[in-house]
Symmetry: C2
C-alpha cells in the first residue's frame, strides 16, 4: 500500500472507534450523563475497564467523589441523543429530560441505568493512580445488564470530527 | 428495554470492539507481530495510546526491552491473517512468512510497518507504571502513516469468542 505521512493530530480518529458509550453518574441529589468513547477492556473477570475522562467534564467530579458510574451502550437509534449529550454540559442542563432518556434504578450502584440502551454496566471505581497524569481511571463492572433480544448490536463508533459510523456485518 | 442480567464473564465482548490491530516489535535480530484489540486513545496530541498486553505474549518482552512498537490497522481483507496472528506465538513461528505479511522499514523506530495495513503508527513506550498490575502500557505515536486512497476503512472488530465484525456505513 502507498501510505503517506499523516499529521499526528489526526491519529485519534483511527483508534478511538470502540463503541461510543453513555456514562451516568449521581452526585449531590442529581444524576448526569456524558458521551464517551475513549475506553478499553483491561481484564476479563472481574471485568475491569479503563476510562479516559477529563477533569473538565462535569461528570468527572461526581465519579471521583462517589466512585460509582454506569456504562450504557447505545445503538444507532440513539445517535441524536449521543451527539446531544456530548455537546452540552450537565452543569447547565438536565440531559435526561432534554434528550428523552429514561432512568432506571441500578442494583449495586446509585447512578441510573439508561433504559433505552441495550447494555448497562454498573461500575465501581478501582484505581485512580493515573488520573492526574492522563485522566485515566480503572473501573470494575460489578453488575451487567443486556437486552437479550438484541442479537447484532448496531453500535455507534466515532470517526473523529463528530462523524459517527454504525457497526455492520 | 427489557434487560436481563449478563454473566460478568461476557462483558468484555461488548466493549472490546475497537479496531483490531496488528502490533509489530523487533528484538534480538527478529521482528514479530501480534493481534491486539484492548487499547484506547489517551491524549490527542501528541497522540498517546493505552495498550493492554499480557506478559504471557511473546511480544511483551520485546516491547518492554526495546520500548518501541508499530500499531498497524488492518481492514477486512486481512481477516484471515489477523485471526492467524492471534492464534500462534511468535516464539515458534515467523508469522510474517506464514501469513504473507510484508515488512517495510519504519522511519523513527526499528519494528517494521506492515505494508498490507492501511494505517501504521510508529510508537515509543512512555509509561509502564500500571504494567505490573494490569499489563497496561502507554505509548506515544511519534510518526503516523495512512494510505490516502482508503476513505472508509472496513476495519475489523472483535465481538468475543473469535467472532469478528466489519465496520459499516
Amino acid at each position: 500500500m502507498s501510505k503517506r505521512n499523516l499529521p499526528l493530530s489526526r491519529v485519534y480518529a483511527l483508534l478511538e472507534t470502540g463503541p461510543v458509550v453513555l456514562i451516568t453518574t449521581a452526585h449531590k441529589g442529581r444524576s448526569n450523563v456524558m458521551t464517551q468513547s475513549w475506553h478499553t477492556m483491561i481484564e476479563f473477570e472481574p471485568p475491569l475497564v479503563g476510562l479516559v475522562i477529563s477533569n473538565r467534564n462535569f461528570s468527572y467530579d461526581a465519579l471521583i467523589a462517589t466512585r460509582q458510574c454506569v456504562i450504557n451502550i447505545p445503538t444507532a437509534e440513539l445517535a441524536r441523543q449521543v451527539v446531544g449529550c456530548g455537546n452540552v454540559s450537565g452543569a447547565k442542563v438536565d440531559k435526561f429530560a432534554r434528550f428523552g432518556l429514561t432512568c432506571k434504578a441500578a442494583s449495586r450502584v446509585r447512578p441510573p441505568l439508561i433504559d433505552e440502551c441495550y447494555v448497562s454496566l454498573e461500575c465501581r471505581l478501582r484505581d485512580t493512580s493515573l488520573v492526574d497524569k492522563y485522566g485515566f481511571l480503572v473501573v470494575e463492572v460489578v453488575k451487567a445488564w443486556k437486552d437479550p433480544s438484541v442479537k447484532i448490536a448496531r453500535t455507534l463508533h466515532h470517526q473523529g470530527k463528530g462523524k459517527l459510523i454504525v457497526a455492520g456485518e
